[in-house]
């Protein structure tokens, strides 16, 4: 079983990210359990979403404390939310960065960075880093195929062809930028 912890602010799509990854894993006949942890439910507040993935059904229901992978959607949380605290040795981190972002040096953790918000602005026209990071996660971790992520993203926006097209493009750009 692998455990993923996603750092974001409420409204940045962390739950959607976890859900889409879960669905993508389902297309590969793997099991996933995606779940959020809310603080006080208000836009902009730091929050986490989690994902467990495995070849067999997932039973563990606690939050994730020692992730195999972290995804940071909002780089302003790196320090305040101690994103790199307790990550497993050998972990991988997929981090959306801005020009001002300073990354900690964490031994045993491979960090993949990309300007996901900027990419999202170029492709979608709004700073939603999460779909870009989905592509980046697929490439960086190898846990899920790009095609599965694209299928899940397409499904999510199937009623809105324009939004669908842009998000699919955003995933691809994320994949290419790792």
């Amino acid at each position: 079983m692998k455990e993923v912890k996603i750092f974001a602010r409420a409204g940045q799509g962390a739950i959607t990210t976890a859900a889409i990854l879960g669905e993508a894993l389902y297309y590969e006949k793997k099991y996933a359990y995606a779940f959020p942890h809310f603080g006080a439910a208000r836009m902009g507040a730091p929050m986490n979403a989690f994902l467990r993935l495995d070849e067999k059904p997932i039973r563990m229901r606690s939050q994730v404390y020692e992730p195999d992978y972290i995804v940071v959607i909002d780089p302003t949380l790196i320090e305040s939310q101690a994103c790199f605290h307790n990550v497993k040795s050998g972990a991988k981190a997929v981090v959306a960065v801005r020009e001002s972002t300073q990354l900690p040096k964490v031994e045993g953790v491979k960090i993949y960075t990309l300007p996901a918000e900027k990419i999202a602005m170029d492709v979608i026209g709004r700073p939603f880093a999460n779909t870009v990071l989905l592509g980046a996660f697929a490439k960086a971790t190898g846990e899920v195929k790009l095609d599965s992520v694209l299928k899940a993203v397409s499904g999510r926006f199937k009623g809105k062809p324009q939004v669908q097209e842009k998000n699919v493009e955003a995933v691809k750009k994320g994949y290419e930028n790792v």
């Binding site: 996933a32 779940f35 039973r59 563990m60 229901r61 606690s62």
Partner: protein, 380 residues
Amino acid sequence: MAEAAKLCRPGVVAAYPITPQTHIVEHLAQFVADGELNSEAINVESEHSAASVVLGAENAGVRSFTCTSSQGLLLMGEVVYCIAGMRLPVLMICANRAVSAPINIWNDQQDSIALRDSGWIQLYAENNQEAVDLVIAGYRLGEDQKVMLPVMVCVDGFILTHGMEIVDIPSQEDVDSFLPPYTPPFKLDVNDPMSFGLLGDPSVYMETRYAIHKTFEDVLKKIPQVGSDYEKLTGRDSVRLVEPYKTDDAETIIIAMGSVCGSVKDMVDDARASGEKVGLLKVVTFRPFPKQQVREALKNATHIGVLDKDISLGSDGALYTEVKAAVPDKKVNGFVAGLGGRDITRKTIKSMFQLARKEEKSCTFIDIKPELLWEEFRVS
């Protein structure tokens, strides 16, 4: 869960939104608006009204669904008792959440436990698959003419209500073949007028309570039968009284209800890998309480630990009280954990395995923060 309720074709859906139940009802309202579910979705101004609407609908012979949580369930409380007393097989999902004050939207099981004596059948789901299964089987069970009692399917708030995982949803044809239309033996009917829920004076009241109590004895026999039929339909044996997990040779057994059972199963496997003989007894049916099955599953255990996500303040956890009464000659340790959403971690569960082996204590709070307590309340 909304999909499962929809497959049961309720003719009336009434609920008032409350976290973490809200999106179940939103989905059902959407199904009705989209014409996917031929049902009356009735907007109400409170949970008390929601419960009253489903009471009335069932009394008129219409299958009904409601869903609530925490304060909402407590506000329904008066009507919850009426629904059972009037023998109306309403089905409710309770998205288990802590009770105020202080206000807390997160998970524990205090809300449904507070209504445990109301005459409702209470079933606790470990995961979202079981939630689906228990809703479908719950209607069949409650509407059995020999039962005619309401059913509360309890699902841990956020952990299940906001947890996303893959579930098998039976086809409409399968559910239709398993769940016949609701045909109550008595109902409100202008062509055959009757009164319901009237005064029961001292000459009759006690018998109405005794009748429910006796019916619960039958329900203990019915649940395995309904479970067996459901298994024939779906291949899943999720509808049951208890689920023993590696208890046969276990010296230490933890007993719990709801989603935490999944975590405990993982920890049982971990502990067994290092040679510890531990097991889990999952209680699916809390009302009626399957005393005999619990006794049977615990017969070889030396150390027993009961995990409650609730507390009868001034006494012990609700499940602890039941288990201790079922095996009075055995050593049973009681643990209260996970109140108000405090996470039950691998470490929490490990500490329960250890404490279960120590001298008997009926009520030990796990993961308490001493720094938040008056000095005299701190325990070493």
